[in-house]
C-alpha cells in the first residue's frame, strides 16, 4: 500500500518540467512537497491525476496510473486544486458532493450510499452549515474546504493537495490539516501536500520531498529532510530550526535571503 514513481517525467510545451523522479511514499503517510516557484510541484500532482500528460511509471497500491482512463484514476485519486476559480456553479455544496461521487457513472439516480456519505463528509469537516450554499456565496477559504470535501467524499487512496490551506485562517488551517492527517492514518492512504508554510510542513508531514528545477533534491522523513541546509539550497533562504514545547514541534524561522534572485540556491 503506497505511492511509487519511477523515472516520472512531464514535458509541457516542449519544456521538460519533471526530469525523471523516483519517489516512494508509504501508506498512512503524509508527504510535504516543497520547492521554489516553478520547481514542478503542481505539475507533479497534475501529471498523476491526468490533467497533464506524464511519462514513466507511477502506481498507487501497485495499480499503474499513467496511461489509464480518467475513470480508473478517478477511483484512486482525490485532488484539491490550487485554483478554485472554476468552482462557482449553481449547485449547492450537497449537490456537489453527490456529483463528485457520481463521476462517470451511468446511473441516473444518486445512490442512498452517496447521499449518506455526502452528509457524513459535511460532518467530518464541520461544513454542515454550507450544505445548501453555492460555492459562489462562500469565501475563498470556505471554498477550499468544500474542495477538500469533494476530494475526500470519493474515498481516495491517494490524496493530492495543492496548497490546501492558502486561503484559510489559523484555526481552519489546523482543523483541516488535523482532519486530513487523521484521515490519512485511519484509512491508510497516501497524502501529498504542497506547502509554502514550512511550519505546517514540519508539523503535519511524515515525509518531505524537495523538488529543485524538476529533479528530486532530497526526500525522506521530515525530521531529517526539512533542515536549514536543504532549505538554503532549495530556496536560497537562511533559516533556523527552533524547538518548540520541548521538542514536540520544530518551527522553521526564515532569517534572510542568501542568494537574491537565484532560487536554485546552492546548485
Amino acid at each position: 500500500m503506497s505511492l511509487s514513481t519511477t523515472d516520472y517525467r512531464v514535458t509541457l510545451r516542449g519544456k521538460p518540467i519533471l526530469k525523471g523522479l523516483n519517489v516512494h511514499v508509504a501508506a498512512g503517510h503524509t508527504m510535504a512537497l516543497l520547492g521554489a516557484n516553478g520547481a514542478g510541484k503542481s505539475t507533479f500532482m497534475k501529471g498523476l491525476c491526468g490533467l497533464v500528460p506524464a511519462f514513466g511509471f507511477a502506481s498507487v497500491n501497485g495499480t499503474a496510473l499513467l496511461g489509464t482512463s480518467p475513470a480508473t484514476r478517478a477511483r484512486m485519486i482525490g485532488y484539491v486544486a490550487q485554483d478554485l476559480a472554476h468552482l462557482d456553479v449553481r449547485l449547492s455544496t450537497y449537490e456537489l458532493l453527490l456529483l463528485a461521487q457520481q463521476g462517470s457513472a451511468r446511473s441516473w439516480k444518486t445512490s442512498a450510499e452517496a447521499r449518506y456519505k455526502a452528509t457524513e463528509l459535511l460532518e467530518l469537516l464541520g461544513l454542515q452549515r454550507f450544505a445548501e450554499k453555492q460555492p459562489g456565496q462562500l469565501s475563498g477559504g470556505e471554498r477550499q474546504m468544500i474542495s477538500l470535501a469533494l476530494a475526500l467524499v470519493r474515498s481516495p487512496q491517494l490524496l493530492l493537495l495543492d496548497e490546501p490551506t492558502s486561503a484559510l485562517d489559523l484555526a481552519n488551517q489546523l482543523q483541516i490539516l488535523d482532519a486530513v492527517s487523521e484521515y490519512t492514518r485511519k484509512h491508510n492512504i497516501v497524502t501529498l501536500a504542497i506547502f509554502h508554510d514550512m511550519n505546517l510542513a514540519s508539523r503535519y508531514a511524515d515525509d518531505t520531498l524537495m523538488l529543485d528545477q524538476g529533479i528530486v533534491h532530497c526526500c525522506g522523513p521530515t525530521r531529517t529532510t526539512l533542515t536549514p541546509e536543504n532549505l538554503a539550497q532549495v530556496y536560497g533562504v537562511d533559516c533556523r530550526a527552533l524547538s518548540v514545547d520541548d521538542g514536540a514541534f520544530t518551527a522553521i524561522y526564515p532569517v534572510s535571503v542568501i542568494a537574491p534572485g537565484s532560487q536554485a540556491g546552492g546548485r
Binding site: C49, L51, A74, R90, Y94, Q128, R154
Partner: protein, 358 residues
C-alpha cells in the same frame, strides 16, 4: 437557516429530496405548457379555418371535409412540428455549446453554422449548386436543405480538424468566429452576384420561416433529435461535472476531451438540421439554457429537459404570434422569437440576485 424554537431542522438529505421533487414538478409543468403551446399553434392559423373546426378536425379527421384535412395535416402539422423541433434542437444545441465552450454567450451558431448553412442554401437557391448533387437522388424540396446542412457540417468539421490535439476553448471559439466571417463574406458575394428574384429568395430564407417545413424535413430533424437527446441525457452527470469543474472534471473520472468533441458534433448536427430547414432562428439557443439554469440550477438531469421545454414554448408561441400579429400574413419566425422572448429574459436577469450583484 434555523429558526429559534424550532428544534428539528430537516437533514440535507431530506431537503435535497425536496429540491429534486420541486424540480421534477417544474419540469413536468413546463412540458405540459409546451404541449399546450403545441396544440394552440396547431389550431390557430392565418387562414380561414376557425379554431373550432381545426380542433374537431384533429380529434376526428373523418368528420371534416378533405380540404380541411389537407390544411391540417399537410400544412399546419409540419409547420407546428417544425416549430417544436426547432425549439428542441436549437435550445439543446445552445446548452451544449455553452457547456462545452464554457462561455455563457455561446449559442448554436457560435461555430459559424448559421452563415455556413446560409451560404449553402444561397448557393442552391441562386445557382442550383449543391453538394447534395453528389448524393443519390433527393426530392426537389430537399436540395436547398441538404446543401445548407452539409455546409453547416463543413464549418464544424474544419474547426474540429484544426483544433485536434490542442482543444483550447478560446481557440475553438475564435476559429468559429473566423469561419463565421468566411462564410458570411461568401454569402455576401453570392447575394451580390445574384439577380433580384434569387436575392429575394435568399433574403427570405435567411429570415427564418416555418413555411419551408414539409414532412420530409420534419422527419430529418426528428431523427437527429431522437439520436441526440438520449446521448445527451445519458451524459447528464458528466455534463454537470464539466459545468462545475471545467478541465478538472478529468479528476472526477470524466473523459473531458471526448465528451467535448461528442457534444460539439451533436450540437452542430442539431443546429445544422434545423437551420437548413427553417433558416436562422436566433435567440432561442442563447436564452433557453439561461432560463433553464435560473429555474432549476445546474443539475443537468433537469437543466436539459427544462431547456428543451423552454425552447419548445418559445418557438411555438413565437410561431403563434407570427400568425396573429398581422392577420392573414405569417411573419418570419426568426424575428418574432427575439421580440417576444426578450422582455421575459430581461425580467429574469434583473430578478436574479446572483447576476445583478457584484
Amino acid at each position: 437557516m434555523t429558526i429559534p424554537g424550532v428544534i428539528v431542522s430537516p437533514s440535507p438529505q431530506a431537503r435535497y429530496a425536496n429540491t429534486v421533487w420541486r424540480r421534477s414538478a417544474l419540469l413536468t409543468l413546463l412540458l405540459v405548457l409546451a404541449l399546450a403551446a403545441f396544440i394552440a399553434d396547431l389550431i390557430v392559423g392565418s387562414g380561414t379555418l376557425t379554431a373550432g373546426e381545426a380542433l374537431s378536425g384533429l380529434l376526428s379527421p373523418n368528420s371534416v371535409d378533405s380540404s380541411t384535412r389537407v390544411i391540417l395535416l399537410e400544412l399546419r402539422m409540419p409547420m407546428t412540428l417544425m416549430a417544436v423541433l426547432a425549439g428542441t434542437c436549437l435550445s439543446l444545441a445552445g446548452l451544449m455549446m455553452q457547456s462545452v465552450l464554457d462561455n455563457p454567450l455561446a449559442e448554436p451558431f457560435t461555430l459559424g453554422i448559421s452563415s455556413a448553412a446560409g451560404f449553402g442554401a444561397s448557393l442552391a437557391l441562386a445557382f442550383n449548386v449543391s453538394l447534395s448533387h453528389a448524393l443519390p437522388e433527393l426530392g426537389a424540396d430537399l436540395v436547398v436543405t441538404a446543401n445548407a446542412f452539409l455546409f453547416s457540417f463543413v464549418s464544424v468539421g474544419v474547426i474540429l480538424l484544426l483544433t485536434r490535439g490542442h482543444m483550447g476553448l478560446q481557440a475553438i471559439t475564435l476559429l468559429g468566429i473566423a469561419v463565421h466571417f468566411v462564410f458570411s463574406s461568401l454569402l455576401g458575394l453570392v447575394q451580390y452576384v445574384a439577380n433580384t428574384d434569387q436575392l429575394q429568395s435568399i433574403v427570405f430564407w435567411l429570415m427564418g420561416s416555418l413555411l419551408h417545413a414539409t414532412w420530409n424535413k420534419v422527419t430529418l430533424c426528428a431523427v437527429i433529435a431522437a439520436i441526440a437527446i438520449p446521448v445527451v441525457l445519458v451524459q447528464a452527470w458528466a455534463l454537470t461535472a464539466l459545468r462545475s469543474f471545467g478541465e478538472q472534471a478529468v479528476v472526477f473520472g470524466i473523459p473531458v476531451r471526448r465528451l467535448r468533441t461528442t457534444m460539439l458534433v451533436l450540437a452542430a448536427l442539431l443546429a445544422g438540421a434545423v437551420t437548413s430547414v427553417v433558416g436562422v432562428i436566433g435567440f432561442v439557443g442563447l436564452v433557453a439554457p439561461h432560463v433553464a439554469r435560473l429555474l432549476v440550477g445546474e443539475d443537468q438531469r433537469f437543466t436539459i429537459g427544462v431547456t428543451i421545454a423552454c425552447g419548445i414554448i418559445f418557438v411555438t408561441l413565437a410561431s403563434l404570434a407570427s400568425k396573429l400579429i398581422v392577420p392573414g400574413a405569417v411573419l418570419p419566425i426568426g424575428m418574432v422569437t427575439s421580440l417576444i422572448g426578450l422582455p421575459f429574459f430581461i425580467i429574469l436577469i434583473l430578478r436574479d440576485r446572483r447576476l445583478t450583484s457584484r
